[in-house]
């Protein structure tokens, strides 16, 4: 695995031991997940015990320790989206992509994730794909939405 980007990121933060979270976020952007090798490298470069990195990397659900798909489909499960049918949208997505929440399709194209609120309650139920908001989504519209990224 090419860890050159990890070196660059850690250097960008001036090898600051307090910047672990920001470093991990940048690594996740660069590699689409947090590779174990990258976490080990951060621990080594910052001279921090591995446990101090792993506790942060495992605490936040926005970090993924397993490789994720090319397109991240995020379903909002906040209260407003929930009452407007987010669970139905989620199961339709799971049926369509033949994977469960948190999993990645075999071809590495899609990953389904759920979050508790994205702060766009008026648009609920809401699905985000790669950070783009798709509001007022209906179960019937799920396959059309996905085909745009297929």
């Amino acid at each position: 695995m090419d860890l050159a980007k990890v070196d660059q990121i850690v250097e960008k933060y001036g090898f600051d031991k307090n910047a672990v979270l920001a470093i991990l976020q940048d690594i996740q952007v660069a590699y689409n997940y947090l590779p174990r090798e990258a976490i080990n490298k951060v621990s080594e470069l910052l001279s921090l015990p591995l446990g101090q990195i792993s506790s942060q990397a495992t605490f936040f659900s926005s970090f993924s320790l397993t490789p994720r798909g090319e397109h991240i489909v995020t379903v909002c499960m906040g209260t407003a989206c929930h009452v407007r049918g987010a669970p139905r949208v989620l199961s339709e997505l799971e049926r369509e992509l033949k994977i469960d929440d948190g999993e990645t399709t075999a071809d590495g194209k899609f990953t389904i994730e759920t979050v508790n609120c994205v702060g766009a309650c008026a648009l609920g139920p809401l699905v985000m794909v790669n950070g783009n908001y798709h509001g007022n989504i209906d179960t019937a519209e799920v396959s059309t939405l996905l085909s745009a990224y297929r």
């Binding site: 174990r36 015990p49 591995l50 446990g51 101090q52 990195i53 792993s54 506790s55 495992t58 605490f59």
Partner: protein, 261 residues
């Protein structure tokens, strides 16, 4: 001196002391699982709940005695029905999480908790964090980590792999209130957290020591005055040496100046 009442009795407390320390010093028993005098208080297990009155406390406020610093005029009640009710709920949740712990079962008997109404889990760890804290604060190995969060929190070596920084001091297994960290000792090795360490032998008599190369190296980096010969000799041999020196002193074979050298 700060004046604090515990169960109505006026006691003198030291500045900066916690209610738990004050109570223990005066012979009161407050149950706890995650407190240890050599570590910073964490308030993780919630078993040391007490009721506080006075000194700007809210009415009927319950808080953990281990993290509560004494204040002038504070009134603490240890065994009110309110404390007992909440403490038993916490104990009930702990027992639902870890059903087969003799320590918890004994506590339940002591505090009259009869029924566990929650679904039983199959964990062995009560998630108090003592193992991680002692490894960080006292041993200094920083080999363990608290990972995940909420009910999914785990206390393990990072990523639950054999820990690279572990020195097999077994402090974590020793301090664990529910004794859930397995340690396997043979004459030649110590196995903990899935990693096997070689035991050092006494350099005089060859007896197996509760010490590893890694542990010795860590102790020497943490206190620069320590030398290997201070550590790699067994109790019996070091006692023999001290006694031998004392005998020579008494017999007048050596003088005090010689001992210093």
């Amino acid at each position: 001196m700060i004046h604090v009442r515990i169960n109505g009795k006026l006691l003198e407390a030291k500045k900066g002391e916690t209610v738990l320390q004050l109570a223990q010093r005066n012979g009161y028993h407050i149950p706890n699982l995650c407190y240890h005098p050599s570590l910073k208080a964490d308030g993780a297990c919630r078993m040391c709940l007490v009721e506080v009155k006075g000194a700007n406390a809210k009415p009927n406020s319950l808080t953990t005695a281990c993290t509560l610093t004494v204040k002038e005029g504070m009134e603490v009640l240890l065994d009110t029905p309110e404390v007992s009710k909440h403490r038993n709920t916490i104990l009930e949740m702990l027992m639902a999480l870890v059903p087969d712990s003799p320590v918890l079962t004994k506590m339940a008997e002591e505090y009259g908790l009869k029924e566990i109404r929650l679904a039983q889990g199959d964990e062995v760890c009560i998630k108090c964090g003592l193992c991680v804290r002692i490894c960080d604060e006292v041993v200094g190995a920083k080999a363990l980590a608290m990972e995940g969060r909420g009910t999914e929190t785990t206390f393990n070596p990072p990523f639950n792999e054999p820990p690279e920084r572990c020195v097999a001091c077994t402090s974590c297994a020793f301090i664990c209130p529910v004794q859930c960290i397995p340690v396997k000792k043979t004459n030649d090795s110590i196995t903990i957290w899935g990693r096997e360490f070689d035991r050092l032998k006494c350099t005089r008599c060859g007896r197996a020591l509760d010490l590893t190369e890694e542990h010795m190296a860590l102790m020497m980096t943490r206190s620069s005055h320590l030398k290997p010969e201070d550590l790699n000799v067994c109790d019996v041999c070091s006692r023999k040496e001290v006694l031998g020196t004392m005998k020579s002193l008494v017999d007048g074979q050596i003088t005090l100046e010689r001992v210093g050298k």
